[in-house]
């Protein structure tokens, strides 16, 4: 009886211990047979990643975080147990990120070219790579709390802007805005009309341009024809004749130029004479104006002019009288 009791108690203790320990190891996924590959990555900060967190490769669970320990120079070293025969990507990096909104974190192994375009992440990866060694470079993505904090700050800014807009946008501002909109509508209509007119003009201009282009094409064809003629003329010796005629014309032009030069010289002399004549005339005219000489006296002295005029009148009367009565003045007697 006593042996039976001892056996039952011993068996219970043994079974209980084995079951509890075995279950604990199974839940913890302890690798007793060492069937996993170990990979260590280096981080500045591991966020809320814990031992046992999932390691994900291309979205598939490929292992778990086995150990987290503080390293040298402020690094944190995370050892991951990966399932055997899981190939790592080329240039692998490890990102620690939240896998859900409920505080679960995971380690994601990915290619460096596939990491998010984030300056902080790139800086962390570069720093971890510069540290050297065989450890994979790692970076920690911001958690939901940080993102929420940023979103909260943005929301606060938006609220601030909204309140400022509310302050600035009173009834007066609304009226002014309404007036501005009305003005804008008017302006818009005028602009539309102008655009319409300009469009018509543009159409006309376009038509003219098209005509011009046609004429230009026609001229080009003419030029081409002339060029062809020149080309054919070159072939028949007409150009030589033309050149000869041009030489003759040039000689004639030269002679004409000589004649013109001679004429120019003669004109220069005539000009000198004319200038002398003008000087003399000017002197005479000055004397006349000064009342010198007979003509000057006649021009400048009105009394003399009137006397002369009276004398002429009287003389004209005398001549008439002489014509009418010659005998009155001429008395020829022979005897």
């Amino acid at each position: 009886m006593r042996r039976n009791t001892d056996f039952v108690v011993g068996l219970t203790i043994l079974l209980g211990t084995v079951i509890v320990v075995g279950t604990t190891l199974w839940v913890k996924q302890v690798d007793l047979r060492n069937t996993h590959d170990r990979v260590t990555a280096r981080f500045r900060d591991v966020g809320s990643v814990r031992v046992g967190a999932a390691v994900v490769l291309r979205g598939v669970n490929a292992g778990r975080v086995q150990r987290i320990e503080l390293g040298r120079d402020g690094w944190v070293e995370v050892t991951m147990a990966l399932d055997q025969k899981v190939p790592l990507p080329a240039a692998p990096v490890v990102l620690l990120n939240e896998s859900s909104l409920f505080g679960e974190w995971q380690a994601t192994i990915t290619e460096e070219s596939a990491i998010p375009r984030d300056e902080a992440v790139s800086r962390q990866i570069a720093a971890a790579r510069e540290a050297g060694g065989e450890m994979l470079p790692g970076a920690t993505l911001p958690d939901i709390a940080q993102l929420t904090a940023v979103a909260g700050r943005i929301a606060g800014d938006v609220a601030s802007v909204a309140s400022r807009v509310e302050v600035a946008f009173d009834d007066q501002a609304a009226r002014e805005l309404r007036g501005s909109i009305k003005n804008f509508a008017t302006l818009s209509a005028a602009l539309a009309q102008t655009v319409h007119v300009q469009s018509s003009n543009l159409n006309a201009l376009s038509a003219d341009l098209r005509g011009g282009m046609k004429r230009l094409v026609s001229s080009a064809e003419t030029v081409q024809r002339v060029a062809e003629r020149i080309d054919s003329s070159t072939a028949t010796g007409e150009v030589r004749r033309i050149v000869s005629d041009v030489a003759t014309a040039a000689a004639q032009l030269k002679e004409a130029s000589e004649d013109v030069r001679t004429m120019s010289r003669q004109l220069g002399r005539s000009q000198g004479r004319l200038e002398s004549l003008l000087t003399t005339s000017d002197s005479v005219m000055m004397k006349i104006n000064a009342g010198q000489g007979s003509v000057g006296l006649l021009v400048n002295d009105a009394r003399l002019y009137r006397n002369s005029d009276s004398l002429v009148t009287e003389l004209r009367g005398l001549v008439q009288d002489f014509k009418a009565n010659p005998k009155k003045y001429v008395n020829v007697r022979v005897f």
Binding site: R2, T5, V8, V9, T12, I19, T24, V27, K28, G52
Partner: protein
């Protein structure tokens, strides 16, 4: 009234002193190995092995109810695989130790108190003393050791059965796949959860057996006194289990969470 307060305070102090004296006597008696060692397995069988059915039965239904309760509570934005997390944490750290402890407080504590109380009122303990047996080494130490040793075994198995029952209930009764439950189970599991539950249950075992022995050995007044001792043992054990539960949470969990 002031005298009543003083008397109550004095009696409280006396109780604490007597309990301290009882524990000291038991610790002193533990040196008499030849007296208590042959009797340990018999008490271990009675306190532990024979208590397994009731403990596992409680754990079985606790696991099922807890899974259903968790699924009811966390539907909505929270993923359903958190049922596994909730079942694991609650069963391992709290419900398996405390419910099993309370159940065994009723079964074991009352049993010990009644047995020792009967021995006291029928002067069997006095006879032991007459025969130069140390009643503490003969009656108390093997029971306390058996309780301290077997409670963690019973509670450990209750943990496994409770989580397994929660798993089965989640798969069979809820729209939750087995991998999802295991994912939630493993999500925040640490070996500390199990250590915490087992250490706590060992302290419950020690407390329940000590209280049972103490109330039984102080029983007076015939069958009525034996009944009173059994009742007192169950009540004191239940209170002590809850106090110890709070004590471990304060000492261990509070320190870890900081």
């Amino acid at each position: 009234m002031i005298a009543a307060i003083g008397r109550t305070f004095r009696e409280g102090i006396e109780q604490v002193g007597r309990a301290g004296g009882f524990v000291a006597e038991s610790a002193g008696a533990s040196r008499d190995v030849r007296t208590w060692l042959p009797r340990v397995t018999a008490h271990a069988r009675m306190l532990g092995v024979d208590s397994l059915p009731i403990a596992l039965f409680i754990a079985l239904f606790t696991g099922i109810v807890l899974a259903l309760l968790a699924s009811y509570s966390i539907t909505g934005a929270v993923p359903l695989y958190f049922v596994g997390t909730l079942v694991e944490k609650t069963i391992t750290m709290e419900l398996a130790p405390v419910l099993t402890g309370l159940a065994l407080a009723g079964r074991v504590g009352a049993n010990i108190a009644a047995e020792l109380g009967t021995m006291r009122v029928t002067e069997q303990i006095d006879a032991l003393e007459t025969l130069s047996y140390d009643p503490y080494a003969y009656l108390v130490v093997p029971r306390v050791l058996a309780g301290t040793m077997m409670f963690p075994i019973v509670v450990g198995l209750a943990m496994v059965v409770g989580v397994a029952a929660g798993w089965a209930a989640s798969v069979l009764l809820l729209d939750l796949s087995s991998p999802d439950f295991v994912k939630g189970l493993r999500l925040f599991f640490t070996s500390f959860d199990v250590r915490y539950g087992l250490v706590k249950s060992a302290s419950f075992g020690a407390a329940v057996t000590l209280i049972g022995c103490m109330t039984g050995m102080r029983a007076q007044g015939g069958a009525e006194g034996v009944g009173r001792a059994a009742t007192r043992a169950v009540v004191y054990s239940a209170i002590t289990i809850l106090v110890l539960d709070a004590f471990w949470a304060t000492v261990w969990l509070l320190g870890k969470s900081r």
